[in-house]
Symmetry: C2
Subunit: 337 residues, 2 copies
């Protein structure tokens, strides 16, 4: 194993990220153009812009989301134990959010912000175009204020891995929370996994992310755009080469082209699982769930990649970013776990 | 035509009912037993019981619902114009509710109750069992307080039909609203349609519903259980016979056995449209949408029934109580409209 995942911990993975209620709606490509939205990307919006897009979009379906939280639900679906660290407000959407996580079996003990806080529970307006691609408009609200004080550091010490989403680097307090969590993790022998989240996110925080990847991240998740942007290269093969020289393991996803898992001086190609893409929301989050599950079970790297592909295939085959069936059962049926 | 639907109105149908956000979750049959719930029925619950069921149930999906509101959305999907009369609070779920109706093209101008009102926007916890049947637990909240003061009586006069859900008879203020709306409708030559809503609802208000059916309702919607309960008979054929003697038109639905449309001294049998039942939520509401759409277009009674069957088949084939595709296009494809 290119990294040492502790096997004696209470919690397999603690996931830290933005607590967001997804508002999913179908939209035509013209809607994206009209509102200046880039298909497949995530845009941070303020309350006013969020309201304007919401007013214009069609009837929605509300489901609990947030990248790292989706990953935590995926982990439990595989049979792992997981906790979530993120911030909601004591409001209707906050109650729904906490309920859904706990009902899915994820530990969630971060105290909500009081109802009187001016920042509401965050939400992400997700426009799903006819090609199944999703375009996200995130109003962070209180999610953007998760801070070191919200973190139960005992939980970090009791976890085999922590998993952090790069989106959290967008705000000062959440950045402090990432640094505090990763420091605590390394002190406790807890492995640190991190997703680059989004190409624009890597652009916004390029130098910071380069430093994080070199110094703090044991398990890196990035898609093709993100890893090329991180290493300042145009060619995926060059990015893989660059990733070979970093510490730990890197899971590099390429959509329909599958993924490459880099670790221990080797690069393993992993194919996608066949699926009809209805809604791409959550594909990366669930890939991470499968890969992390594999790591906690001591699977070899290609198997970790296959578990990721399996989970991603399930979640893109329906609306919403959380699995509708037991991923553990799927893995057993596929003879992987 | 057994009734005279005005053809010169601005609005085809104004629908009045409980404004409820649906919280849909899959549940095992054992969950219903454990919580003393009767499959397929609607139970009115208080805030405490609603919270207890919610705590125990799995992760949910939130979508705007409410029977008459679902019908209004179905009408617009057919190409008709519709408005909704119901009450939400100025809170997160209330905003979502109003957005979804307006985004679907339904007129909705009832002022929300202030945020400080102790009654929140109503919600309906819907447990969908593996057989596709749905069991509903309704916390009315502010929805149960729609009152004559909330009604725009000009809208009633500008509508060809008003459609009222029987569930509204459960509360004093909503009962007054029904009486005021139906009085205003009859004074304006607006036809009054009414659904009996639920077998238990007919039991709770039996004598009132008998009087309503005899004196106020031009277009009656009832399923087999409801119509048998209304007329105090065990046999559906006897109920049809009883319905023959009442004013106007009666649409009597029988689930998989199709429906019978009674009017003008005749009873017409209408078959169901084939569909795989994924979630029965909204079947009756969408049947009503199709039937009412037919009436506003001057279709004969069997055609009205077929339009109802078509819409019901669409909505039971997926989770949620509102159509995912254009019902107008479906009707054209079926050569009905």
């Amino acid at each position: 194993m290119p990294l040492t995942v502790p096997t004696d911990r209470d919690v397999d993975v603690s996931c830290m990220g933005n607590a967001l209620v997804d508002v999913l709606a179908h939209a035509a490509d013209a809607f994206l153009d009209e509102h200046g939205l880039v298909k497949g990307s995530m845009l941070l919006v303020d309350g006013e812009r969020s309201r304007a897009i919401y007013e214009a979009m069609g009837p929605g379906t509300e489901v609990s989301g947030g990248c790292a939280a989706n990953t935590s639900v995926g982990l439990v679906s595989f049979g792992a134990s997981a906790a979530f660290i993120g911030k909601v407000r004591d409001d209707q959407l906050g109650h729904i959010y906490a309920h859904d996580l706990r009902a899915a079996g994820v530990g969630f003990d971060v105290a909500p912000a009081p109802a009187a806080d001016p920042d509401a529970t965050g939400r992400c307006l997700i426009l799903v175009t006819p090609d199944g691609e999703r375009t996200m408009n995130t109003f962070l609200g209180i999610a953007g204020r998760v801070a070191p004080a919200d973190v139960d550091f005992g939980l970090i010490e009791r976890s085999a891995l922590v998993y952090v989403e790069g989106y959290l680097w967008d705000r000062p307090s959440t950045k402090q929370a990432i640094l505090a969590v990763t420091d605590a993790a390394h002190a406790a022998g807890t492995q640190v996994a991190f997703t680059m989240s989004d190409g624009f996110c890597v652009e916004r925080h390029h130098d910071d992310f380069v430093a994080l990847a070199a110094e703090r991240i044991d398990v890196l998740f990035a898609n093709e755009t993100e890893i090329c942007s991180l290493y300042g290269v145009d060619d995926f093969d060059l990015a893989v080469e660059a990733a070979m020289s970093r510490r730990g393991v890197s899971f590099l996803t390429r959509g329909a082209k599958g993924s490459v898992v880099v670790g221990d001086g080797e690069a393993h190609e992993v194919p996608v699982e066949p699926a009809t893409r209805v809604d791409a929301t959550g594909a990366g989050d669930l890939f991470a769930a499968g890969a992390l599950y594999g790591l906690t079970r001591g699977a070899d790297l290609p198997t970790c990649g296959r578990l990721g592909s399996l989970a991603a295939a399930e979640v893109i085959s329906h609306m919403g970013a959380r699995p509708l069936v037991s991923l553990g059962a799927l893995a057993r049926a596929a003879g992987i776990a």
